[in-house]
Symmetry: C2
Subunit: 206 residues, 2 copies
């Protein structure tokens, strides 16, 4: 049986996406990739690219999307692990650091395009981050019943700090990785504790 047209197209599309991910590394950002480079890596003719994406931008947004999905899947597993453990913070941070270790390309993409030159990219990455922030804020609010706004501000700080620890992890030796994780955990505990203390003050005043 020969492949259907749609199937074959999907295969080629995947080749392009995978090729692009493969090309990302410590010293290669998405914006530094050329269309031809991607098609070369994918093993197709330059013009064939246009049969699947209008732009390098469109491909990039697809990558961000896929990266986001992968990240969310992993963090869902983290939540399962949390149920067996005492420390939410520790499990979450460690899971995230594992993700970065296992698929650094995805994190490279998100990290760099978060402050990149394309507004569409920035928005896309921001959306992925918001996903985590909202979820974490819900968790916090549900657990400690803070005001919504406070929970969100707290969640945001936490996500940013974990993200930052990930960024540092990319450049550091594997030996220092553990230390980096511990640092992030301490930082999140500062925030959790501080938010706790300050929200109690608030309630007394009211």
């Amino acid at each position: 049986m020969t492949k259907s047209r749609a199937q074959q197209k999907e295969i080629t599309r995947r080749q392009i996406i995978d090729a692009a991910f493969r090309l990302l590394s410590l010293d290669r950002s998405y914006s530094s990739l050329s269309l031809r480079e991607v098609t070369r890596e994918a093993g197709i003719a330059p013009n064939s690219f246009y049969r699947h994406f209008e732009d390098m931008e469109e491909l990039g947004l697809t990558l961000v999307d896929e990266g986001g999905v992968a990240l969310r899947q992993l963090m869902r597993k983290a939540r399962q692990r949390i149920e067996d453990s005492s420390s939410v913070i520790r499990i979450s941070v460690e899971t995230f650091m594992e993700f970065i270790h296992n698929s650094p390309q995805v994190f490279h993409l998100l990290l760099r395009e978060r402050s990149g030159t394309s507004l569409a990219f920035r928005k896309a990455v921001s959306r992925e981050l918001q996903y985590f922030i909202v979820e974490l804020a819900d968790y916090i609010q549900h657990r400690q019943n803070y005001p919504t706004e406070d929970a969100r501000i707290q969640a945001e700080a936490m996500v940013i700090l974990v993200f930052n620890a990930g960024a540092e992890a990319l450049d550091c030796k594997p030996a220092e990785l553990k230390q980096l994780t511990e640092k992030a955990i301490i930082q999140l505990r500062y925030i959790a504790r501080g938010a706790d203390a300050l929200s109690q003050v608030k309630r007394k005043v009211h």
Copy 2:
């Protein structure tokens, strides 16, 4: 009197540096600039570039350096302002946000090259950040006499969060800027308060 040779060279060098800064914007990162583009903006011949810098990388490192100097100068002014005020955190964050507003190009550069493709750039930006972190850690340690390590972790979290607020500020409407500043201030207070609480626990245990 005609200009001395060294003087004229310095002038041209400045033209290159200024041109590069001028070209940086929301949708133009340093790594996306070409050598020819910079020389065009500077009003010199492409080859003249080499009389002053070996590389675009060398120019870029110079820009990071200059940006760092400008930033440090401003924060020194902030410290003067602090003496007249009660809130260290508020003054520092507001001063930083003003800096970003006044010279966004410098911040763009630091923000993007912090996670860019050049190791030298990343190290250079990291050095600038360390400068703030160490200084802030000293301040914290002196004021609350924390353990050195704890103060550093706390300072790092603070600097990261302020830097992040700056990143968000670049993309937001001027009206939301105030709100962003307040958010960062709250986040830093969480950290300050949390670190306080946790270090007291530590002392009791010892």
